[in-house]
Symmetry: C2
Subunit: 347 residues, 2 copies
Amino acid sequence: MPSDDQPVPVFPKPVTLRDVAAQAGVSVATASKALNDQGRMTAETRERIRETARSLGFRPNSLAQSLLRRRSFTVGLLTNDTYGRFSLPLMSGISDALVDKGVSVFLCNVEEDPRLGQMHVDAMLDKRVDGIIATGKRIDRHLPIDLSNLRVPVIYAFTQPDPDAVAFVSDDAGGARLAVEHFCRLGRRRIVHVSGPASFAVVHARAQAYRDVLAENGLPVTEPLLGSWSEAWGHQAVAQLFDGKSDRPDAVFCGNDQIARGVIDALRERGLDVPNDVGVIGFDNWEIVAEATRPPLTSVDMNLTALGREAGLTLLSLVGGTAAAPGIRKLPCLLVVRHSCGRPMDG
Amino acid sequence: MPSDDQPVPVFPKPVTLRDVAAQAGVSVATASKALNDQGRMTAETRERIRETARSLGFRPNSLAQSLLRRRSFTVGLLTNDTYGRFSLPLMSGISDALVDKGVSVFLCNVEEDPRLGQMHVDAMLDKRVDGIIATGKRIDRHLPIDLSNLRVPVIYAFTQPDPDAVAFVSDDAGGARLAVEHFCRLGRRRIVHVSGPASFAVVHARAQAYRDVLAENGLPVTEPLLGSWSEAWGHQAVAQLFDGKSDRPDAVFCGNDQIARGVIDALRERGLDVPNDVGVIGFDNWEIVAEATRPPLTSVDMNLTALGREAGLTLLSLVGGTAAAPGIRKLPCLLVVRHSCGRPMDG
DNA sequence: TTGAAAGCGCTAACAA
DNA sequence: TTGTTAGCGCTTTCAA
């Protein structure tokens, strides 16, 4: 027996097309056509129906529409990037590109758990998402689920794609070029590279671009120093590079912003000035880190929001039946210049 | 005229209940009952239907079910926290609590834009979400949309609620108590508080708890130093606290981890040892920051994942028709002990 | 024990 | 110009 002291809120029943039709004194079909700009009828009737719909606050039931149209105006975003470092900017771009088309996004974090991943995929499929975008925290690892042969189109963005799938990634080599060329342009001559673990594909892509640019500019190439993605490694690397060496670097290109932060701190601690003695560039443009270093860090931005926008729009065209060429498309990075590289050095 | 060189992938038509029924040689109604454990029939029939469903890979169309049940097993998460610092752990908790109940989450970032917010809310409502959870980046600001009198239940989590709504927030005062009491327990005597801008409600809640605990322990209370939420402010505060002062603090409780990071760095730069000379505690337990300080930072965790879980479950019970008492429920924080406070000091 | 029929809210042929 | 009818995929009386 329910107690009466706690009022159970009662939610108003939504207004249906039937209600509108009745109120306007027409059939449901006519009402539907009036509201969808279909069919032929007097402007007067159409307007009257519209007006009653408006006054009743009618909003069509998407579920009913979707059932009929076989299209739910819903997409799923699958990720294993718990902290959202990469998936949130991406999400933001996707959402951005799709809101005004009426498409909403299911966000599902699958961690590294295939069972969890399967649950999410099943739930999404059952809800008849129009398509799925897969993303993750690194470009060279698969999500823990098989997304091939689904009943809906799939796009990979910033994660390892299946063969023959449509995929978008950032152009890591291009991003590295931006950084190293920036150093060259500023007149730096001894440019070194401190990066993450060799197990990451991006580490090699960036390192190769680093070598290429230096060679193109006739500058000496030092083997990149590989370590972890941490500040601590940035510190250690500085020790390796500067302890009792005669030809010290005047520029450090770092594999991510955390390493760069460690490098900047370590340089300051040994009395070296950034940017005057040594210039530093990071990667990822993680604002919270890049803006807190002293001085603020120049960094390569992977432009993940644009990547997301691109992925979203492409998914939509796939949903619309347009074929997209399979393969991996690389999107350009941006160099965000702050104060860690200084102005051009003279002669 | 479509060109043939680019094969347009064709997606298989989903298996419907009708297909299952036909294959099993029964009516759709029977098939439905068999799969839903409803009605009465021979175990043999039921099993046969189940088996054919399984073999055909049948999955019920959620849209159709939702239309009928008037329940979509979908909720919306509204946020203005672009970077997801707070909304992602929350999301994670919500999702966690709801996946195995088959509920999926629409994530919508509304920034500070009322128009965008309205679009998202409308889209969610049209898609017949069962309920909405509102969250944000601070506890004392409203989202830029009015969520009262919606057709679905709304829960506020970590954002300013409407009056009479159901809301969950972290217990900031309690969290501050944890920190300051920890210092007391370790024998620190001159504990100061460096926090964010006075415009934030949490700043006052935490400051008051700070004062209370010190008073309870008979320790001297210094007025909290208020500034910005940045590392730079942490540096400045240290200058203010330590420059030419005679009775220097032996413990600093910081309003967030970034301030704490600034404090730790500034202390080290002036030759003070953390934790031996000065203990430091942060707030937020943002791992990326807290684990990178030297030494790693002890910090108050708002336990947002638990908050999300709670919010998700409560929303679900609201959806189920159970009344929940309106009001703001505060959930306890956790102290995550790392190495910035040291061990108990002797007498 | 099973099935026929109605209906969730909407759209789209087709008739009138 | 408008309305009738059928049907999207499913669940649920109710009758057989």
